[in-house]
């Protein structure tokens, strides 16, 4: 890690000096790009009442960054989180006024432009100029980097087809930027939990070689990174696992202590539910081996973790530890890979499922030799089935009088993929009887390759950004 420009403004947290044993409060107001944008308000109110803290926005799923790169290609001033104004605008003043640092990967493919947009938001609201640090180095799309990556991947795809290539950075740059006095840290691709671990390292002065604490802070971030998934969102099953206030679920806040234990709760006057059950669903979410949850910062270990209720909508998480971080960093390479086509048409009433199935068979006979097709009978069988149609062939689809046929396929050539759209549309006249409500869509398909590379190949760092006035 290296820093290019140090902010001349003196740091709030002098280098290496722990801020003390007061807990750190970290709230997370989005779990992905596309999440609700009104979650931050109650979280910020809670953080103010607690005397300050850190606000995370997690906005980068695997594909999001590639889509952002495509935006940046069209307009070099874009390529960051498209809903940035809605996320940051309503809470920027309160964050700057109340010692709440914002740490987010909403920089996506263009963290510099993202920082400039935040300056503009602050100026429009008459606020002081925030100190914004931008983390760089995750983007590996320089020609020599791509050559290296594709060789590493053993892939022979044309580098021109690569849309994005990003390493998952860790918490180090975020921590140092906060120690140096950043109000806001904007990143591109970092490991999601690093958005929380970085502030904890800065706050407590944790050593980044203390694997136990790195494991604890990482799992605190893991609990937060999907937003409401830990506060009752994505939990509800009516009649069995009910969650109050699904329309206004509170986003989560962690109280992290110097010893690495932490509690998770939600803001007052919000819907949702935080208990050992919602906590257990989230702690295992997207985990494989619970003894080896890999991030750039640590190999976290939750095999001895416990989650207990501490009060209404509040849990205590203990027993987490960690092991030495992986030697290499994970890289995702996203590339153009043809076109994805899907088209749907509905059948209802007498013999609805049979008519939909006949329509599917008809399309298979006409274009099934050109590309592999997936045929779903939405309302009878669509989600559990596999692409090969094995479950459908076993007769799993139930009886239904309201069925929507869906045909999907991919092809490198646009005109071949487009045939799915044309064939489903033609069912309007060619039948079977009573088909209606055709909708079609054709979009470029992005594919991802993953590998790991040595840390030395990823020149990461951060810098404080100056406002550029037009």
């Amino acid at each position: 890690m290296h820093t290019e420009i140090r902010d001349p403004m003196a740091s709030r947290f002098p280098l290496g000096e722990p801020k003390g044993l007061k807990p750190l409060y970290v709230g997370c107001a989005t779990g992905f790009s596309g999440d609700r944008t009104d979650g931050a308000g109650p979280v910020v109110d809670a953080l103010i009442a607690l005397g300050g803290g850190v606000l995370n926005f997690e906005t980068l799923a695997e594909r999001t960054l590639a889509l952002a790169q495509l935006e940046k290609r069209k307009n070099p001033a874009l390529g960051y989180e498209p809903l940035l104004d809605d996320l940051v605008g309503p809470v920027l003043k309160r964050c700057l006024d109340h010692n709440i640092q914002i740490v987010s990967n909403f920089g996506a493919a263009n963290p510099q432009a993202c920082a400039q947009r935040i300056f503009a938001l602050a100026r429009a609201q008459g606020l002081r100029t925030p100190r914004i640090a931008v983390v760089h180095g995750d983007d590996l799309t320089k020609p020599e980097q791509l050559t290296f990556l594709l060789k590493r991947l053993g892939s022979d795809i044309d580098p021109k087809r690569v849309v994005s290539a990003n390493a998952y950075l860790g918490a180090g740059e975020i921590a140092q930027a906060l120690k140096d006095g950043a109000d806001i840290v904007v990143t591109g691709r970092v490991s999601d939990p690093s958005l929380t671990l970085g502030p904890a390292i800065a706050h407590f002065g944790w050593s980044m070689q203390d694997w136990h604490l790195m494991g604890c802070g990482t799992m605190a971030g893991h609990m937060l990174e999907c937003g409401t998934q830990v506060t009752g969102g994505y939990y509800s099953v009516p009649g069995q696992k009910s969650v109050p206030g699904m329309d206004c679920i509170g986003f989560p806040i962690a109280e992290i202590r110097a010893d690495g234990t932490f509690s998770v709760f939600k803001a007052a006057n919000t819907g949702g539910r935080v208990d050992d059950r919602t906590g257990r669903e989230q702690i295992l979410y997207e985990v494989h081996d619970p003894a080896r949850y890999l991030t750039p910062d640590v190999v976290a270990d939750i095999t001895q973790a416990t989650i207990t209720r501490e009060g209404q909508d509040r849990i205590l998480v203990q027993g987490i530890t960690g092991h030495q971080r992986p030697d290499e960093l994970k890289v995702n390479v996203c590339y153009d890979n043809g076109y994805f086509a899907e088209a749907e048409i509905s059948y209802a009433g007498f013999q609805a499922k049979e008519r939909a199935a006949l329509a599917g068979e008809t399309i298979r006979k006409r274009i099934g030799h050109l590309l592999p097709l997936r045929v779903d009978l939405i309302g009878a069988l669509s989600i559990f089935g596999d692409d090969a149609g094995e479950l459908m062939a076993q007769g799993y689809a139930g009886a239904s009088r309201d069925v929507r046929l869906r045909v999907a396929g991919v092809h490198l050539q646009k005109e071949i993929a487009e045939k799915i759209l044309r064939e489903v549309t033609a069912l309007y006249c060619c039948g079977p009887a009573g088909g209606g409500g055709v909708r079609t869509s054709l979009r470029p398909r992005l594919d991802t390759l993953s590998c790991t590379i040595p840390r030395e190949a990823v020149p990461s760092g951060f810098s404080f950004v100056q406002e550029q006035r037009a």
Partner: protein
Amino acid sequence: MNTNNSANTVELPLYQLAHGRAGDKGNTSNISVIAWDSACFALLVEQLTEARVAQWFAYRHPTKVTRYVLPKLEAMNFVLEGVLDGGVNDALNLDTHGKGLSFWMLDLPITVPTALAATLEVKEYN
């Protein structure tokens, strides 16, 4: 408890003994199975084996199924490799992430002693 004598047991879907959530990474799905209570957990450790889960998902041709048991959470984590038709970028499924696969898992039948079964009717858990 006798789980072998069919007169004293009944088959219940897994969702009456546990809840869970599916996550994806590439072509691999992980599905957590979290017991409603300790008695359920003990039964699940015994019956919800890697082989049983592999068989339940056979139509998706998992290349490998691994079970991780977390006694302190009274939970298990199943990692099913190769079941997502290539994953979020490759699959033609509407649900490319396999988010719904936890509910396929939760239909799996478990043999439950009648006395325990009487306490496991679908109800609100608080």
